[in-house]
């Protein structure tokens, strides 16, 4: 039927499978390397649970790039910012002009926030607003599940 809330058991299993394959041992790895490997497996587990989402594919592409040890290129995308500020004409009264300015400012703020969100959600650069919100929804759910799983793991191992 519809997508279930990501089963934590599935997440945990994938997570640990990935960890085991990466062969994390005490020797030969510093703390930072281990942490990086763990985070990598966590992201991979998260992305593989929800394969039909766009952010998931973007995340996998990003991870595969990291896996091949290439340096992360600074993304030179130029996201087109729609300024859309209308040239004001004296068609309306003072009150309406103030209201129009307020809404214009609000729109500016919203656009800025939206850009930040695009940077946060993997693959957000290439989505329109609607899809962006959809993907954020999905991404948030999985992130929550991932954090819960990792907390459980930490609690169990200590």
């Amino acid at each position: 039927m519809q997508n279930t809330i990501p089963s934590k058991q599935v997440l945990l299993k994938t997570f640990l499978t990935g960890l085991r394959r990466r062969n994390i041992t005490n020797k030969g790895m510093t703390l930072l390397e281990r942490k990086r490997a763990i985070k990598f497996s966590a992201d991979l587990a998260m992305a593989s649970v929800r394969k039909e989402a766009k952010w998931s594919n973007a995340l996998m592409a990003d991870l595969s790039r990291k896996f091949q040890r290439k340096t992360v290129l600074p993304s030179k995308h130029r996201h087109v910012v729609f300024r859309g500020n209308k040239v004001s004409t004296h068609k309306r009264g003072a009150k309406q002009r103030r209201a129009a300015k307020a809404t214009a400012i609000a729109k500016c703020i919203i656009r800025k926030r939206e850009q930040v969100l695009r940077r946060l959600v993997p693959g957000g650069k290439c989505m329109d607003e609607c899809t962006l919100l959809d993907e954020t929804l999905d991404y948030l759910q999985l992130l929550k599940a991932q954090v819960d799983v990792m907390r459980l793991l930490v609690k169990a191992l200590e």
Partner: protein, 337 residues
């Protein structure tokens, strides 16, 4: 005017009624799709996933007809399918113009029609609003975005009181950043904890449990606490046998009958630990290979093959410590999962 309205109304009601009959006030009923297409969409894996969210999405979304939704808010609402929605962005300007002209000033509610082949969105204009195609398209888009913002508001804690898109977006961004930082921090903690525990050993036990859990019931947080005495007894008696082969065969046969009950599983694990401690490595790998062959092969990006008897199982690394802590940790994990 009336003559134009009638023929337009009749096809909508005709197409809406069969799907309404099938699934209450479901989303596809509101879309007015025929039942087979609705079934297709039902099986389509889409998000949002939470049933409460889905319910709210159906209520708040653009396509919710006010009258229909309020009359029968059924709990089993089919998910609003986002991919067809995005496909529906292609709007037929001419058809909406025709509809808009007709509906202007008549209907206070919005209703949409999904056609079978071409998923267009037909939005009726509300009273006193502009009816050219551009503003209609904009309005539909805006309402889609508002619907999703409402869903996000409910997902992010503490956002329901905030009004205004900008602040809500602010909160959402903060929440996403917070969660990402949590993942980093927890992975650092796991890396710090790691020297004590060999992950390869821990993994086999946990993967075995999760494989079993996956086969029986997945994601059942509320596990019944009452033990099924009759089913428990055979497990105990058969697991008590020290021969690992016999244990394997009996567990294989018992597995479909055993319901996933929390205490039962914990005790199963308890005995399992004792057994494996007696037999150490061969029994662990034997059991795992038996389970691995019968478990449904989960297709993941990385195909996990069972590691050979190289890494030492979990218990071996700490012989001084009794078996109790690892069992307790696994029990804790199982309880919380």
């Amino acid at each position: 005017m009336e003559d134009e309205i009638q023929p337009l109304l009749n096809p909508t009601t005709a197409s809406a009624s069969p799907s309404v009959a099938t699934s209450g006030a479901s989303f596809t009923a509101l879309l007015g799709l025929p039942p087979n297409r609705a079934v297709e969409l039902l099986h389509e894996p889409t998000f949002p996933s939470d049933p409460a969210l889905v319910d709210r999405a159906a209520r708040f979304s653009v396509f919710a007809a006010a009258a229909a939704a309020s009359s029968a808010p059924s709990p089993e609402v089919s998910p609003p399918p986002p991919p067809p929605e995005t496909a529906k962005k292609r709007k037929d300007g001419a058809s909406t113009n025709g509809k808009a002209k007709v509906k202007k000033g008549k209907h206070a509610e919005e209703d949409t029609d999904g056609e079978n082949k071409l998923p267009y969105v037909h939005v009726r204009a509300r009273r006193g609003q502009a009816t050219d195609s551009h503003s209609l398209a904009e309005r539909a888009r805006r309402e889609k975005i508002n619907a999703r913002m409402k869903l996000l508001q409910e997902l992010v804690p503490g956002c329901s009181k905030i009004s205004g898109t900008a602040l809500v977006l602010d909160e959402i961004i903060n929440h996403v950043q917070y969660l990402q930082r949590q993942v980093e921090y927890l992975s650092m903690r796991l890396a710090a904890v790691n020297p004590r525990i060999d992950f390869s050993g821990l993994d086999t036990f946990l993967s075995a449990t999760t494989m079993e859990c996956g086969r029986l019931t997945i994601g059942n947080a509320k596990v019944g606490t009452e033990l099924d005495q009759q089913q428990q007894q055979p497990v105990w008696s058969e697991v008590g046998v020290s021969d690992s082969d016999q244990m394997n065969s009996t567990t294989n046969s018992k597995r479909p009958q055993i319901q996933l009950q929390q205490n039962q599983l914990q005790q199963f694990w308890h005995v399992d630990f004792l057994n494996t401690q007696n037999h150490l490595q061969p029994s662990v790998w034997e059991r795992d290979t038996v389970m691995g062959s019968t478990a449904p092969h989960v297709q993941r990006e990385e195909q996990h093959s069972l590691v050979g008897p190289g890494p030492v199982p979990l218990l071996a690394f700490d012989r001084v410590n009794p078996v109790a802590p690892p069992i307790q940790s696994n029990q804790q994990l199982k309880m919380e999962l």
